[in-house]
Amino acid sequence: MVDIDTGPEISLEALQAGDRAEFARLVDAYSIQIYRLALKMLGDEQDAEDVLQNTFMKALQSLGSFEGRSSLSTWLYRIAVNEALMLLRRQKPTIPVAMDYEDDDDELQHPTQFTDWCCLPEEELLSAESKGHLDKAIRRLPEKLRVVFLLRDIEGLSIRETGEALGLTETAVKTRLLRARLNLREQLSMYYGERLKEEQA
């Protein structure tokens, strides 16, 4: 997990006074997180780069009205998520929306995969092919689950920060996080289950 607050201390005062060197520091402190989030949400490097650039352009424009009620990083994530969602909306027809009907109040999907693939060696679990599959599995998640999972489990935001970035209650964040994790576990179990069979064959 990446600790988002270990970066250099950024001065909001300097940023709001128009200190460009300080803004460059802000960009360097958070650009990898924003790029990674956009890449995992959208699955396309060019789209991710657009989101990255637009996020910091918007941040630059709206710094004056930032009141510091959330942390700078949470604020940047919020802008980035909106940018990415806008892009997704525009592309919607090409993106599979399977299971998007799932609602927070619906009963949890009961597990169907019971293969114990934990024993697979780490180089198999994290091979280039496996990593490609991990990313693909994220993109098969319904959007609203995907974004919660990315902020919480990939970027390492707390439940509260994730809620702030998305305008959700902590309860909603927790519900969606659990759904996302269970969904991914099902997908990974099918994938690694096959690898396990190959290995034992």
Binding site: D28, Y35, K131, R185
Partner: protein, 82 residues
């Protein structure tokens, strides 16, 4: 305390794998896991799922992406300061 069944266990799994579940709940879950192989696998593979995603993140921004970003933001003069 009534024995937890598989279904009621499901809702507490995130808290359990994050280590934020109350002690009493943890004990209940562990009691159930000891006698339920399917749930034990679900918990183990769920933990592993979260772990794998943690372990596979990219830590560096591609140099060319950073350059184009700085140009777009008119911050060219600070490109070398990193």
């Amino acid at each position: 305390m009534e024995e937890k069944n598989c279904k009621s266990l499901l809702g507490s799994l995130s808290d359990y794998v994050d280590g934020t579940a109350q002690e009493e709940l943890c004990r209940e879950i562990e009691r159930h896991l000891a006698g339920c192989e399917d749930c034990r696998i679900v918990v183990d593979t769920l933990k592993k799922t979260v772990y794998l995603y943690h372990s596979s993140i990219e830590a560096d921004l591609p140099v060319a992406v950073r350059e184009r970003l700085f140009k777009r933001l008119n911050l060219d003069e600070f490109l070398k300061t990193n």
